[in-house]
Symmetry: C2
Subunit: 370 residues, 2 copies
């Protein structure tokens, strides 16, 4: 499929890094291990491997991107399952008043295209997609706040006041030093993360939620119990090992090649280089525009850092092109159209995380368009 | 938690077997492997690891319990996710006529207690639980046929005619030689299996569906894409390795200890022994009854085999005990009450798959009750 370039945000860019980490990130599981459904029967999230809980808290303490003290960790099969779990936990329960309207789920456009699809595909009576948060009227809602935002990389805060019975779920999948400056320790009620974007292990399907309220955490765990009776232990062990390798490279720097094994340094170098290439290609072409580069002091690196989003939000400025995705597809570049994100189809979302060879082809093709 | 005995069907009995298989069932995953979301982009189930597809088909051919030729394999995060995926795929789509009634989901009582809970917890507009199949009236439905049945081990067939627009989903989680005679090669439209019950790897959360119709398989895969963006690759690789070890022990018997490594032989020996102990304990107590032992010629072993269900469906015959689960709980035996299975609370379901030490305590306690 030569035309299948970048439709998905597949983070295979990181393979190169993990080829260099050897035994530190390798996992061995004997046939008899982790056979039980249970991981930690005393925990609200009874299927959470204690080793993963520990490494999740450790990496957040290292990076300083999210508060963990006083939070419950709920593990999910990727953050998508946790997104559904949060909707389930934050909506009024099925028994609460027959005929009660489903909870409205909103997010400011452009919003991640999966939000409406995942909210509505089962036509749940508990919650339903209600569109762009900025035009929402009402005081009972769940607001999804993705920051840095998928698709456009914007740093976001909730736009609706939580004064009514509104609650916010913060999707912080991209709030890591390779993509943006870490400017504060986030301490929202429900925060979602995933190894897919932090370390690049999308196939491992491990996400986690940091949840302040015990009852919300308990309901999220209940969702996952009913949906999949817990979460793959093999993947939890692997995610723990990988996160441990990440933290070790910063916290146990005695090994001679520790510097080479620093994930966020690697990721930042790659992203800076890729964004430089992309901006060069857009300039060479002359028909595309990208959001302005912004920068801030990163509390993790203690240096000024520009924002290098995991996706480019590309606008085609040619007057005769109203469907940018279609235009690019005709030139063998697959992207996701802006209209899937509740936005103008002159925009497309392009993954910045593909393997080098595919990324190079993309940039080359883009720069040649007139 | 000394009282926490057998609430769940945790298949830890099999740990002992897998401690003896060494490298044959051990998996090693380097840090850079299986990072992509994708496994097989040309497959209807694009997140299915080809190695798992292969070993699933191989073990079914070895055992002869299900047809695989012409079937699509859809992998899930345990068979629970596939159960939901099947409901989604077999119900009319959301767009099909506003106000259309949800599809009725039924199963003959006693039915697996998760069926109603999983069907209804999101209050889907696509499907809803409609109770005992034997009292259902209507010709549009999904009938769940669990055989051998959870909780009572009965061999079952669909009770509703599929003449209308009714369809059946066959949950064959327990249709393996350790539990029952393999009497025919099942060839239903949708058949669900899981490593949790076949090999005992519940923590791995891998199930699979064998699906005849391509469009149904495609919709089931779509459900899993929206729910969890695929299924843990690490667990798929592990399940493939474990299933391969199972088949190798029968098909490559040149190794000196192959006999010792034959899972179904081991499982059958253990289950025969455990059922003998349980029937002895029930007789010693005098206040419990169990279903009659049945037997049939097993096409896999070519021998007569008695049925040794993974759960015992135990009835307390004491006139003054109307709540058997409560009675047993007072004697520190945790079971699941019959009323959770749409049946009489004089019955309870007891797991037969716990570790030896826990099983021995259970049998000892049971035999002492009067």
């Amino acid at each position: 499929m030569p035309a299948r370039l970048f439709p998905s945000g597949d983070p295979t860019m990181f393979e190169e890094f993990w080829r260099g980490t050897g035994a530190a990130a390798e996992i061995v599981i004997p046939g008899w291990q982790t056979m039980s459904y249970f991981s930690d029967v005393g925990n609200v999230c009874w299927f959470l491997e204690p080793g993963l809980d520990q490494e999740v808290r450790r990496v957040h303490r290292l990076v300083g991107n999210a508060a963990v003290d006083g939070y419950h960790v709920v593990v999910g099969t990727g953050s998508t399952q946790l997104f559904m779990a949060a909707l389930y936990a934050l909506s009024p329960p099925a028994g609460a008043g027959a005929g009660a309207a489903p909870m409205s789920v909103v997010s400011t456009a452009p919003y991640y295209s999966s939000y409406p699809a995942v909210t509505d595909f089962l036509r749940s009576g508990l919650f339903r997609w209600a569109g762009d948060a900025s035009s929402f009227r009402g005081d009972t809602y769940i607001e999804l706040v993705c920051s840095p935002n998928n698709p456009d990389g914007a740093i976001r805060e909730a736009v609706l006041s939580s004064a009514g019975s509104g609650v916010a779920v913060h999707d912080l999948a991209y709030y890591w030093p390779q993509y943006t400056a870490i400017t504060k320790r986030a301490d929202h009620d429900v925060m979602l993360f995933t190894v897919s974007k932090s370390t690049g292990h999308a196939g491992t399907r491990i996400g986690w939620a940091l949840v302040k309220d015990r009852d919300v955490a308990r309901k999220m765990a209940k969702f996952i119990e009913l949906n999949t009776i817990g979460v793959s232990k093999d993947s939890q062990l692997r995610a723990a090992k990988v996160l441990r390798a990440v933290s070790d490279a910063y916290e146990l720097p005695e090994a001679g090649d520790a510097r080479r094994r620093r994930l966020f340094d690697y990721g930042r170098r790659k992203m800076v280089e890729r964004w430089r290439m992309l901006r060069g290609a857009a300039a060479a072409s002359g028909i595309f525009s990208l959001s302005e580069e912004t920068s801030a002091l990163c509390n993790f690196t203690k240096e000024m850092a520009v924002t290098n989003p995991a996706f480019a939000w590309l606008r085609c400025d040619r007057e005769d092109v109203e469907d940018c995705a279609g235009f690019l597809r005709a030139h063998r570049i697959l992207t996701r159209s802006g209209d899937q994100f509740g936005a103008d189809p002159r925009y497309v979302r392009v993954s910045m995380l593909d393997r080098d060879d595919a990324y190079d082809i993309f940039v080359k093709r883009l720069s040649s368009l007139r």
